[in-house]
């Protein structure tokens, strides 16, 4: 299974008054990790958009085991968890760099659409990306 590691150093802005990273910010980290994932694949999110496709998030989930903290670097391990012709699901695991502890785990499910948010078949419309997704998923 292909996976990407995205390194993130938590910002002060991302903390809250509990002294840890605000729980909502991991969703943004997932997005940054997803961008990195597709960039490493050679098919950047930006390129996807330039070609007229969007992969909007239709569901997100996140479990919190331990909090990330300001300035203590983490990495987000990202992989394809499932796919169909019109859906992609990615899985994210946030680890503390120093201790390699799993802090947070989550997923995003995506539709594949055109710029008017109408569903499209990735398989038909963006076959190159579709093949990459399959390859990521299957290769172990």
């Amino acid at each position: 299974m292909f996976y990407h590691k995205e390194y993130i150093r938590p910002r002060y802005e991302e903390t809250d008054q509990m002294g840890v990273i605000y729980h909502g910010n991991y969703i943004t980290w997932f997005e940054q990790a997803r961008s990195g994932f597709f960039r490493e694949l050679g098919y950047s999110y930006k390129r996807l958009e330039d070609e007229g496709y969007w992969i909007p998030v239709i569901e997100v989930g996140c479990k919190y085991f331990a909090p990330a903290k300001y300035d203590e670097e983490v990495y987000v391990k990202t992989s394809i968890a499932a796919h169909s012709g019109v859906r992609i699901e990615l899985k994210y695991q946030v680890y503390d760099v120093e201790t390699d502890t799993l802090l947070v785990e989550g997923f995003t499910k995506h539709a594949t659409t055109d710029k008017n948010l109408r569903p499209i078949s990735l398989k038909k419309k963006a076959p190159e990306l579709y093949k990459l997704v399959i390859t990521c998923f299957e290769n172990e």
Copy 2:
């Protein structure tokens, strides 16, 4: 079932380049709605923290049906979805004010802890809040 309606007017800052509200921001709206929920109950989040308790989020989930847009007011309908002595689950539904369409639905699960993030029994340590939670859940 007791519920609270929190009205929110989406900010420009909350949009993204798809021209809609960025998907991660609904988690923050849930938090604002949760604050409003407890405030309406007469037991503000702030009071909870002042008394030495925290109810950190341990899981969050969110499904997206239609996007909220800049400046188009929404309300978040919030209620207790489940509870035990040491856990609370809240449910959120984001509706467009003008059309009353359901845009987004989600939940948060919370542990009940002291300020060192050690689990506590809400039933024993904060019985007043515990009773409120039960009442919210049971009254129909």
Copy 3:
């Protein structure tokens, strides 16, 4: 001088680990206040964009006297500080609702452009808005 008061209840997400509202978030509050200002004028930001105009921020400044805190409501007093045919400057003052203390003061300067970010004369292209701006500025 016409001014608008925008009421904001600080979110948990907006705090940082100093236990106060993160300094960068006031810029977003200015934006929300600006939206409210133009809405109260009867010329919403949204309408402006629908008509093909943008008023992008070209400069921002902010002075911090005392911190806003989670859940302690503030209002942002907003007015026109200066204007020309192609520039608008707004002024913001953030007050604590309970104590009426001035917490933060700032400004934004705006260009007036079309959707390709090319400068336009508000006076010529959007005379109705231009008149409103003058009226806000002059009436005392």
Copy 4:
């Protein structure tokens, strides 16, 4: 003059519906750059806080020349612009990595305080940091 370069890849979350990075987010980038600046100096922000000091922002300013865009990497050149025993001013310049164009320029002014936000003399209380600040400022 010592300066630090902080590389940032703009997130989707940071865009707005104008299709560019939302103007308020540069303040957060300044913060990230400032953290990097002090880390490179060998005196991390975190260490400063651990030793009981804070350097809260008391003023911020920002001028926008051209917009940063999603996924197009920038760097923030950061240096000390001025200092006294109880004040530090930093200067930031955001450049596009590919074209080396200056996009945004800004500053932050900081008080030096203890954890109760009472002013302290950096010179007396944190002489090691004070010397570093002077050295950064003077060496050319």
